[in-house]
Symmetry: C2
Subunit: 470 residues, 2 copies
């Protein structure tokens, strides 16, 4: 009977606790006795029961309180695995090159230029001005700010020969960064389960976006000069693929830079198969010994879907990229962008436009080319002198990275760990391959914050190789 009573009181108090804030004091025993018409002993039994359940704690002489500390044993989310099923593709939660290194580390694994290589003053001024202008509280059109679209179009139109019809602002779709642009391009151009040709090795972010879109990847080997046009032709024919993703200029990771003949031959193969070439011009602003000549400037048949981003060259905070495409392809891509994010922050678009319209932007790019040359040469020299086991097939004429081949049989994961233990972060080449890596590679960025430490870092890499091959 008193057990029943205490259960009744406990039920009432559980409902009370459920709506109470953590730390709230329960009514005094005296008033509970009155409220429930029960003895003090029965009320105490109910309170002990709630304490055992972890819902309250009593502080002798003060009162009983809703537990502020949450139950130690976490909830069980096992049921979710039935609802979620096996994932279609394994998406890395945080890719290696995105990992943030502690400041004391020699970080050669990442791909984002630091503040010393950015037009920092221009960026801050442009953002400050945008914060005071209309863009701070307005919503731009889904395809992007007209002035910014015009700028992206004019950059490509300026490189277009006179006999070809140049792109216009209408062909431009602004996206919040090149990763979002890639995701939309793949979704818009290639249905799930359908084939997509892709260089191997290639940018890991593109691999992630392709996995997310659920397309079937068809790797096309790509070496120091880019892919073999005959292999592109054969792969398009064999698979029925209608799209080929490539980085014709300063490719990440290989540094390959297609010459004019190669570019025309690949374009011819793409045209012959009624297909798209997705040209990821990621390093447009990172020319060192050569300038980028976009393939998109030599096609007005809508075969090249062109992607250019300002995130890496202006600031990682300015997530602004552009897709330039013509015909129905452009409409599909815009439709996907609208469904994915409706529009891109007008503040970021306005600030990006101010930066690239400033005369200081060209000055910055010239200075940047010199900085990149100096750092590239320093890292190349350091590796050649202190890490002879790492073979550099190409000294890239632009971009941000070196791609070095390790002795056959090297365990790259172990090598990365061994280097990290010595304070040097490098990236295993494996992440850049759409299938098993063709060989053991390292990707090393030459925009790490401490160029003076390159020789030491190279020696660390060599020692780590020696641990496996010594």
């Amino acid at each position: 009977m008193s057990n029943d009573s205490s259960a009744r009181i406990a039920t009432g108090l559980r409902a009370w606790i459920r709506d109470a804030a953590p730390g709230a004091q329960l009514p005094a025993t005296r008033s509970l006795v009155r409220e429930y018409g029960a003895s003090p002993v029965t009320v105490q039994r109910a309170l002990r029961r709630l304490a055992a359940e972890g819902l309250v704690e009593s502080r002798p002489g003060v009162g009983t309180f809703v537990r502020a500390v949450r139950p130690a044993r976490g909830p069980d989310f096992g049921w979710q695995t039935a609802a979620l099923r096996t994932p279609r593709a394994e998406l890395a939660r945080v890719a290696g090159p995105l990992q943030t290194a502690p400041p004391e580390v020699q970080a050669l694994h990442a791909g984002y230029p630091g503040p010393d290589l950015l037009p920092e003053r221009l960026v801050r001024t442009a953002l400050g001005r945008a914060a005071r202008g209309a863009a701070a509280t307005a919503r731009p059109p889904a395809a992007g700010m007209p002035e910014l679209r015009s700028w992206f179009a004019s950059e490509l139109a300026d490189a277009t020969p006179g006999h070809l019809s140049a792109v216009t602002a209408r062909d431009v779709v602004v996206a919040p960064g090149s990763q979002s642009a890639l995701a939309s391009i793949f979704r818009a151009l290639v249905a799930p389960g359908r084939p997509l040709l892709i260089e191997s090795p290639t940018y890991w972010g593109a691999l992630q976006a392709a996995h997310q879109a659920g397309v079937e990847l068809v790797p096309v080997p790509s070496g120091a000069d880019g892919p073999d046009p005959d292999v592109v032709d054969r792969s398009l024919r064999e698979t029925g693929a209608r799209a080929f993703y490539a980085q014709p200029s300063f490719a990440n990771p290989t540094g390959a830079h297609w010459d004019v003949d190669r570019a025309e031959q690949v374009l011819a193969a793409v045209r012959a198969h009624g297909a798209f070439l997705v040209e990821d011009d990621w390093a447009h602003d990172f020319g060192i010994d050569a300038e980028v000549r976009p393939l998109a400037a030599h096609d007005d048949g809508g075969h090249v879907v062109y992607l250019r981003s300002l995130t890496k060259s202006v600031s990682p905070a300015l997530r602004v990229a552009a897709v330039i495409a013509r015909g129905p392809a452009r409409d599909r891509i815009l439709g996907d962008r609208a469904a994915e994010s409706m529009y891109v922050s007008g503040l970021l678009q306005q600030a990006a436009l101010e930066v690239v319209s400033d005369p200081g932007w060209r000055t910055h790019l010239r200075r940047l080319g010199g900085q990149l040359r100096e750092r590239r040469d320093l890292l190349v020299a350091a590796l050649r002198e202190h890490a002879p086991s790492l073979a550099l097939d190409v000294v890239p004429r632009g971009g941000l990275h070196l791609w070095g081949r390790l002795p056959d049989g090297t365990d790259t994961a172990r090598l990365v760990r061994d280097c990290a233990a010595e304070g040097v972060w490098v990236a295993a080449g494996d992440e850049w391959f759409p299938a098993e890596p063709a060989a053991a590679y390292l990707r090393l960025t030459f925009i790490g914050p401490d160029p003076a430490g390159y020789p030491t870092a190279a020696a660390v890499v060599e020692r780590a190789v020696g641990l496996q091959h010594g």
Copy 2:
């Protein structure tokens, strides 16, 4: 012979033109005569041929120039239709509510508060400060800035009763706006072709995101009090769906606000089927006569995936939203976000954090509630007096919209056109239905920029109805 010669000259000049800038002057006839060893007549014939092809234009007495004006007939992109195939789902390129109205229009179709309802001073100050700080040139973690994630978590944890385990910053994934968050949630929780329960009518952006994800929509009728829990239960059972997308608080468009019992019953059905409730708390900051009590605060089993955005209440330029989810579901969503956009601009995250951390934010929200009440009441009164044909079942206790039913048989597209012709933009309810509309509805926002014009606008709507039913 001279025909052959002119063809040879034309071929040579085409190559020259191809690499020339628009407007460049061709070599003089005299020098072409010399270069090609041809007569002036033959050179002229070649030039006329190029002019006929649209490649050059001659200015008598001046010279011949590469055409600056591109060919009038555009390229043919017909081949793309074979490559692109029929789209999986028709994605609207620019949805009705996103269309930008000219300033002279009474715009009751849209859903974004204008500057008069935004914390404009806070936004500009926060953006200006962020432009000067580290966030302007740095890259934040993929899941979002830790401090901002903590803020989102604490907002929900503060509403969580003491006996439940509250969410932490780890459960929060920052996204660039709620549309992007929705797209990721649907992709992460529901495989293509699998069913997703969704209220009918519901937010058109959610319908777009669901179409993009390729899921099968299962409409659940939802009226003034929200959906019938028995129908939710039956639909989950019949379809095997493992997720239900809903707006339990101030639903867009109906204004429905679930009471505590309704919320518990729907949650119970969702739990019983091992499913997720995707709670889109879009109007958290837009309470008028009631506050939002998130369902997510009453679930610690990982069943509620919670979405909250700051875009509408802080500024359309600050595309910042948060998904709060637990267990493997959170990991899947983060994986999709990383593949989709890698990270969200740290500048926008920093500015958003500054705004909501400022004491002025609470002051703003209180003032905003009053402004919304005043405008809602004005529009309701105007419609009741001047547009009696429009039936308002619910006067919403929060949100930004009214949902009015038109006489049966109204052609909503024609009504929208007729109103627009009189300078009043309204939105046909059709866009909020995942299937055929259950009846003819209009959605009218009460945050239009000209409240004094509401009576006139209401009269316009009534006249337009009269044109069809008079």
